[in-house]
Symmetry: C2
Subunit: 407 residues, 2 copies
Amino acid sequence: MYYYYLIMPVNKLSPLFSNSETIKCLYYNKVATSTEVSNLTGKSIPHVIKVLGELTKAGYVTVNGYASSSGGRKPLVYSLVADSHYILSVAMDQFSAQMVIVDMNNAFVTDTERYEFPINELTPDALIAYINEFLEKKEIARETIIGVGLTMPGFIDTEQNVNYTYSSIAGESLVGYIQQQISIPVFLENDSTAIAIAEQKFGVAAHIKNVMVLNLGWGIGLGMILNDQLFTGNNGLAGEFSHIPLFKNGKLCTCGKHGCLETEASLIAVTANARQGIKEGLTTSLANYPEINADIIIAEAIKGDVFSVKLISEAAYHVGQGLAILIHLMNPGAIVLSGKGSMVGKLWLAPIQQAINEHCIPRLTQFTEFKISDLNTRAQLIGGAALVVENFGKALEEKLNSIEAVT
Amino acid sequence: MYYYYLIMPVNKLSPLFSNSETIKCLYYNKVATSTEVSNLTGKSIPHVIKVLGELTKAGYVTVNGYASSSGGRKPLVYSLVADSHYILSVAMDQFSAQMVIVDMNNAFVTDTERYEFPINELTPDALIAYINEFLEKKEIARETIIGVGLTMPGFIDTEQNVNYTYSSIAGESLVGYIQQQISIPVFLENDSTAIAIAEQKFGVAAHIKNVMVLNLGWGIGLGMILNDQLFTGNNGLAGEFSHIPLFKNGKLCTCGKHGCLETEASLIAVTANARQGIKEGLTTSLANYPEINADIIIAEAIKGDVFSVKLISEAAYHVGQGLAILIHLMNPGAIVLSGKGSMVGKLWLAPIQQAINEHCIPRLTQFTEFKISDLNTRAQLIGGAALVVENFGKALEEKLNSIEAVT
DNA sequence: GAATACTTTTTTAAATTTTTAAAAAGTCTT
DNA sequence: AAGACTTTTTAAAAATTTAAAAAAGTATTC
């Protein structure tokens, strides 16, 4: 089992790289017929059938019987062999990392574990230790893991594999270092971008050509799907929705500028406003807590605390102001509320709509639909796994190279 | 000559449609070697050489001798036959239409004529009369014109071929009507989008993957090049930069909303501010005019009138505020100042930079370059012609169909 | 309820396209 | 001026697509 890749002649495997489009297709659709794969990959049916046959022989793909037909020959149904490979998804936010292992049917095959630490204190070696600990605990053979999807906040340059914001963990060449230490290919991506991928492939953004996916968390991230593909800008830094200069409130933002959207609309701003309100002696159930945080405000808002609802509504209205700009510029087919904050998506929706109605040309708004994510807190983990699938060919190749280097 | 298309068997021509990528490539590069065409179209060299041979035989392409080589066999240089076809470009703004005929080397082969009228009073029949008048005056055989590129301001849905803003001239099916009346295929596009195409293909935006092209005119239009291709949103309505809600000035915009960028930054706003200043008795050479307009203010600003410069600077600063948002969202490689207003591009640049410095995260600005168009007032006309080239295959097909219908 | 018409998928064979390799044509250095 | 190196073009092989036929169903009709 361990020597699987070694026994197989290298040049025998090479067609697999070019077949990664078919693998992606099956991963995102769970099951598919040859016609469906043909339509999705843009390859001809005879070619697709040949590829599927090869992949079946190689153990990546299996036939699941026949699908029904509206009249005509029943098509064979193909799917990936769920346990042929696994993916480790590592989803970080400012204060923790969540890990889970995903199979080739996009199913979580382990519990999700959370490791807590402030992100800017994390070292590569500490992260490696967490990953090793997790893998040993879950008793998944390292050789079956095709790649690690590492997703985190920050300005991430995916060409250079660098996180400019948190360079201690993902600075220059550190991704390469981690990859080498755990002997599994590692793919790095921004958290909001990962969430956008998840929503596009498995969420409410599926099959919409142009989508703005909001990551409602500590800040307000934005992942953009334009013309059915991820848009990350000229240097991978697009989507800094949080820091668009929108207010003349004089409030200093963490980015060093004044009046960013974040200063009025993030959960950090909401928490600050809550503290101010309590200090002023407002009637609110928040006053019963010794110390408050965003989770508490959200919880109380759901329970119906008027002040908490007002706080979130205000933030949401400001987000809506920003979205009005986005709609004018991008004319998107949909805007998706995702990320942690989407758990209370309906609380956000009304004030956002209000702001849009006030600030948008009606002719434009009619084309943009609002949707609330149903992936909940799993979005980033799913996106991280999809990131590895997107790079399946590359992952396989790197795995081969590393094994070749050992022999 | 007249029956050229009829003599040729229809199915003989069909490969030409699929060769339109090669034609586009030659049109945009003026001259190109087989290797260049191969790289640009993504087709293999043997295939490109075959296609070029066919096109040469059909009279579309000619060989221009050999290019120099940095070491190695000299490549053959191909170009389009300049007079094999012509394009009529019709560029409208709010008050006039400019027309010119362009050959297959992207050269203007006639003078540019201007027809004046308020755009919302123009009828399709009037436009048809202007076009016919122009064509007869220029003595260009109608059969050699492969298509008309019609570009104008307004919310244009390129799927439906409808201008929602000025529907009297380009409402439902009116484009089809014009096309039928003049027996030449017509292609409709937004003015700012046309300018963006022109800048990408022939201007300072060439070879940059992600570019924001500003159309500085009566309003402030925006055409976006994302991942090397035009982005027009889910319904062709993207780029409404003029109407992003940015101010709390209470000023009513033509769009019906308050506080649009246009209310502070357009030439209309500049003119209003100028009148106000004159009324207040400020010292300015503008006071010498019985009635002022944007052209006069620009002229006086160039001459050095302090008040005029201040007016334009203020507008430019506001444009810069909007651009700061754009940079955060899109992380563009370049921002191009184009359109009529770019004639005084340097006047705009300093205050825009000022605003960017104040409102943008420095890490982002370093990746975005500012450029001033060198296409001047020709940008929209060039873009209109390019629009026809982009649809060359379609144009040829429609021409064929219309001739077929006659026989 | 069997025969026929219609759909849809799969297979087969032919045509096209692309890739790979080799040959031709040229430049540059020593 | 010869040989090493580059680049384009041609030729042959490999891969992919297109078109057509065959296979396997479903629905309808008499």
